[in-house]
């Protein structure tokens, strides 16, 4: 390899590892601030686990969102689906441990249904994915609000194991998230469906010409996305003991999950990126929060800086691309 090709290759290398670079930068800032303030108790493994533990719901949603974005689509309905899942699960369980399994099944089924509808609207009716999922979000929100008040209920103590349980010294929810992440990685990396996702996201027409059933790939990606959101809803219901209809929108899981995926280096037009970038994005987000907490930044200033950081992080690798974006 001579020098010329090395220089030519370097930018793509940087692009490939930029989520890791951003993560390292965030980590360094965190450590530097903790050391300079003398708060060494925030540098222990327990602190690391608590940082990770804070972003379980965002992590689950973002893994699903990665599938939607990779296939060249996007899902704005996840936040409302999270609320719906939390409300429905706590309404069905209603404090009764025997209803745990049916509730989880119903919620996952609901997620699959929403994902299928999203996918069908996007593929069969050729609705722009932004509009299709936005419409779906409004419909879910309306349904939730009109049933609100009729739905009460709470989650039985046994179900709270999902959020608070500890297995082998690690939080159970963190293990579930790890399982979801590894599962998603295996699917994307080693299965035919995974490679189809990348081809369809890269260029739908070429993928169709190559004999891939593109509609099915898009629909399946949306089902996975909605299932992940439902799982996040179950987790939040378990953590807060009951579901509230604002839980998803309050956390802004729709826009945050998209931001996390994009910060992780997956491009919005699809076909390029991966799960590990998303994981890096999630950790960067919770590190930023921890840094602000350590430094004692005012809550509103935190929001201002957060907006700037999202744009700056995306600009960090978008700025070198020659593509014209809109």
């Amino acid at each position: 390899m001579n020098a010329a090709t090395l220089i030519k290759r370097l930018p793509s290398r940087i692009e490939r590892y930029s989520p890791a670079l951003l993560l390292a930068a965030a980590l360094l800032i965190y450590i530097a601030i903790a050391l300079s303030l003398g708060l060494t108790r925030f540098l222990t493994p327990e602190a690391a686990i608590s940082i990770l533990n804070r972003s379980i719901a965002l992590g689950m949603t973002a893994v699903g969102q990665t599938f939607a974005i990779l296939v060249g689509s996007i899902d704005l309905s996840v936040a409302h689906l999270i609320s719906a899942s939390a409300v429905v699960s706590s309404a069905i369980m209603n404090g009764d441990p025997a209803m745990m399994v049916p509730a989880v099944l119903v919620v996952l089924l609901m997620g699959a249904l929403v994902g299928t509808l999203n996918g069908l609207m996007i593929t069969r009716l050729e609705v722009n994915p932004l509009i299709a999922t936005l419409g779906m979000a409004l419909v879910i929100q309306g349904c939730l609000a009109s049933f609100h008040g009729k739905f009460g209920g709470s989650v039985p103590d046994a179900f709270q194991f999902f959020a608070y349980g500890v297995v082998l010294g690690l939080p159970f929810s963190l293990m579930v998230l790890t399982l979801v992440v590894v599962g998603a990685w295996v699917v994307l990396r080693f299965t035919r469906f995974g490679s189809n996702v990348y081809s369809v996201g890269g260029n739908r027409d070429t993928a169709r010409a190559a004999g891939i059933k593109t509609d099915r790939v898009v629909i399946a990606s949306h089902i996975l996305c909605s299932l992940c959101a439902s799982l996040a809803g179950l987790y939040l219901a378990s953590r807060l003991k009951s579901g509230s209809p604002w839980i998803g929108t309050e956390g802004a899981y729709d826009l945050e999950s998209i931001a996390v995926v994009v910060i992780g280096g997956t491009i919005l037009s699809g076909g390029k990126g991966g799960i590990w970038g998303t994981v890096a994005g999630v950790i960067i987000f919770s590190l930023i929060d921890s840094i602000f907490n350590l430094a004692g930044v005012d809550a509103f200033a935190k929001q201002v800086m957060r907006g700037i950081i999202i744009v700056a992080a995306v600009a960090f690798y978008a700025v070198r691309s020659k593509r014209i974006v809109a």
């Binding site: 299709a132 409004l138 309306g142 609000a145 931001a259 509103f300 935190k302 201002v304 691309s321 974006v325």
Partner: protein, 333 residues
């Protein structure tokens, strides 16, 4: 494909000789809705009925007329809702209950809007951040700024001189008795934007960029400058809408919530094509009126707010499906 390109390089909206003009279906839908409202509430034909309707629809209509610039050029502007909030909260902080300050507060707000638009445009053009993310970041930042400025709870009220634009009706007009200032603002702003989009080179370049940015660049369109202009127009329309909303809604930190999505919905109902290349200012204004008319109708029928959300969602999807169907039947892309 080639036919479509030819027809879009002609000035959109120019009279086509030799055949019947193609009327955008949104105008029929709007007419039908207005008839339905009149049937369910006969008072609507009184000046107070329809003038109040127009007054209430004016901010959204102005917002949609600005948003269509960004949509035609192939992007989105999600920051308008938070810019409305910032305008209302910022004006109340700057005015500080002092009616004489209005004359410099309004230009100051427009300057802020100009800055927001330029930053959005620069970030999208030069940092190459997709507009969805760039304006999302701007939305989060501006919301935070509005909270920070007012420490979370805006105090004070807006003086009458500021509320003039959103609130006052000019009395003693023959035939229609009175006319709200908000409607005059909408007419002035709307016709400016109509002229800019459909009668100047800027409008043609916006359509060209939205249709095919690479081709537009090759044929000499100053991509960056046109795109920044689009974002500036959208931000200025948001400041205008904010001044009107501050006039009749008062000060709070959630005045602008949801307006970005309603504006995009209005453009889509008006037949705009997301990701660029197609859209018109009058149709977007009609889309905004249609959306407001739907809400008004549902209100008259007595449906609660949740049902309105469901209806808005369904209408949004149906509008896009119909637009796609029409385009496919016309043989376009």
């Amino acid at each position: 494909m080639s036919q479509q390109t030819v027809s879009s390089t002609e000035a959109p909206g120019a009279p086509r000789s030799g055949r019947l003009p193609k009327i955008n279906p949104v105008f029929f839908v709007l007419a039908a809705l207005l008839v339905a409202i009149t049937l369910s509430n006969p008072n609507f034909v009184e000046p107070t009925g329809y003038m109040n309707f127009l007054k209430r629809a004016a901010p959204l209509a102005i917002l949609a007329a600005g948003q269509i610039y960004v949509i035609v050029s192939g992007g989105f502007d999600l920051s308008v809702g938070s810019l409305i909030t910032l305008t209302v909260v910022g004006s109340s902080m700057l005015l500080n209950n002092n009616a004489d300050a209005t004359w410099w507060v309004i230009p100051a707000m427009y300057a802020a809007g100009l800055a927001v638009g330029i930053v959005n445009g620069l970030v999208v053009s030069f940092l190459r951040v997709p507009s969805l993310i760039a304006t999302l970041g701007m939305m989060i930042t501006l919301n935070g700024a509005a909270f920070m400025w007012s420490s979370g709870s805006p105090r004070g009220y807006l003086p009458e001189t500021f509320r003039f634009f959103g609130r006052v009706n000019i009395q003693g007009i023959p035939l229609i008795q009175f006319i709200p200032v908000a409607l005059l603002v909408l007419l002035a702003f709307g016709s400016c934007l109509f002229w800019l989009m459909h009668r100047t080179n800027l409008g043609r370049m916006l359509h060209a960029i939205g249709d095919n940015p690479r081709a537009a660049q090759m044929s000499g369109v100053p991509l960056e400058r046109v795109r920044i202009t689009a974002f500036v127009v959208s931000s200025l329309s948001a400041v205008t809408a904010g001044i009107l909303l501050g006039g009749f809604a008062g000060v709070s930190t959630d005045v602008g919530v949801g307006y970005e999505l309603q504006a995009i919905t209005a453009c889509v109902i008006g037949g705009a094509q997301l990701l660029g290349g197609r859209g018109s200012v009058p149709a977007s204004i009609a889309g905004a009126l249609t959306l407001t008319a739907i809400f008004t109708l549902l209100n008259f029928i007595g449906l609660p707010k949740p049902v309105r959300d469901v209806v808005q969602g369904v209408i949004l999807i149906v509008a896009v499906v119909l637009a796609t169907y029409r385009r496919n039947r016309a043989g376009g892309t």
